[in-house]
Amino acid sequence: MSDDDLQSRPPSPTRREFLLTTGSGVAASVVAGYLPALANDGARESDSTPANSRPTIEGAVPITLRINGKDHQLRIDPRTTLLDCIRETVVLTGTKKGCDHGQCGACTVHVDGRRVVSCLSLALLHDGHEITTIEGLGTPESLHPMQAAFVAQDGYQCGYCTSGQIMSAVALLKEPCGPDDASVKELMSGNICRCGAYANIVAAIQQVRHNA
């Protein structure tokens, strides 16, 4: 997401922007103290944090990550997972952190067109790879067919797992998968939905497959 995209957003602050720009409150100060430490060139910075107050990251290494067709030249701590790099360094927050241990699928992204859980991979492993996040699938004006199907079939409640579900579902379209619901359920078992929207998620995926 470019700065232009951000500026074209509605003026109301997102939860994230609210936290970043709020000076009081424990949560705000913790988040505000954390994010700039991981922010890098090319990433959006909090307006409230002067650039010269950013601590340098000891042992940081350079990497170019190609995300949604755009190259990002970054300097990151080697420990940075692909997930944390996407969310905190490049500030594409559509990809969600659920369990952070590869068990829930909320962080699913595509690497060279294949779905992976970004929490169990290091960002440093992915220079030269084509990474696609939920932001790279469609836009609010022009949804990806899977996004439109999730809306049409009500494939979510709280929405936290949704970007991972959709990334997984889009990858599934290119994988060997039987025509029945059971085959879809088996291949979607790595994406947990605590609201239990599973039936509608399967319906959304089948809608896209039937229309393909």
Binding site: P78, R79, D100, R114, R115, L122, L125, E186, S189
Partner: protein
Amino acid sequence: MHTFDFSRPRDLAAAIAGASQAKTAQQGADVRFIAGGTTLIDLMKLNVETPARVLDVNRLPLDKIEVTPDGGLKIGATVRNSDLAHHPVVERDYAVLSQAILSGASAQLRNMATTAGNLVQRTRCMYFRDTAMPCNKREPGTGCPAITGANRMLAILGTSEHCIATNPSDMCVAMAALEATIHIQGPKGSRAIPIGDFHLLPGNTPDRETVLEPGDLITHVMLPRPVAGSKQVYLKLRDRASYEFALASAAIVLTIANGKVKFVRVAMGGVGTRPWRSPEAEAALMGQPADVVSFRKAAAAALRNAKPQSENKFKIELAKRCVTHALKMAATS
């Protein structure tokens, strides 16, 4: 997560030289190869693994699957589990391997996990994964709280008084039934280890899980030529229908001639401290009628030496029924 130095060795020799600096290739290794990362990153986040150096082997030329001149199959160390499971030769000639891989983990994890990574996959024993708890595998000499604790998922075969952790792999169980050979390059040259000798029993040293030494790099796995006309089945029994580790599983390679068992390989998962081949079950089956009576006898033989813990006695009967049913499935397929 502890910090580490990350590098990408340019070739096999550099990878081996880098890793040979380690004091051990087992638990506590200060140098680790990283491929898919699905076990290593998970355990590094838990501070169970704390390597000072991480060597990226993903771009080494170890990602091919090739049929060899003698009709076997050479599987590169960094072939992704999903690519292996869906390879046409594997689906046709080594179906038990395809089924086993696809019964494990999730589609995302199978896209990441590799052949060699799966071979050295670590146990899911919750005491091993929790650094607040004692664990002889993680910290030798601290004790095994699983023996008197939560052990429902843990092993009933190959245990010792020091460790009862289950080997979690499905892939390795199929490879045991297929009599795979693990090919390793190390500082002293190359060697090939039958999969039955690759994983170690816990004994007094549960921190040592494989024969790997510092600098050893798994380059590929060899499968022998497929057994002509064999029926193959992987049956996995678990608490959920998908995305769950086995309580008991069975890998079967079976050939029947004139109603009698002509060739059979039996391996079990979810019950052993390592992928558990059962020569006892195989011996009980050879030359016998391919019927349920024989299958039940073989299953009983496979579990004869099982030693249950306080919460997993059920696994003995479950594993027997798993082996029996898997043999039935193979015989009637």
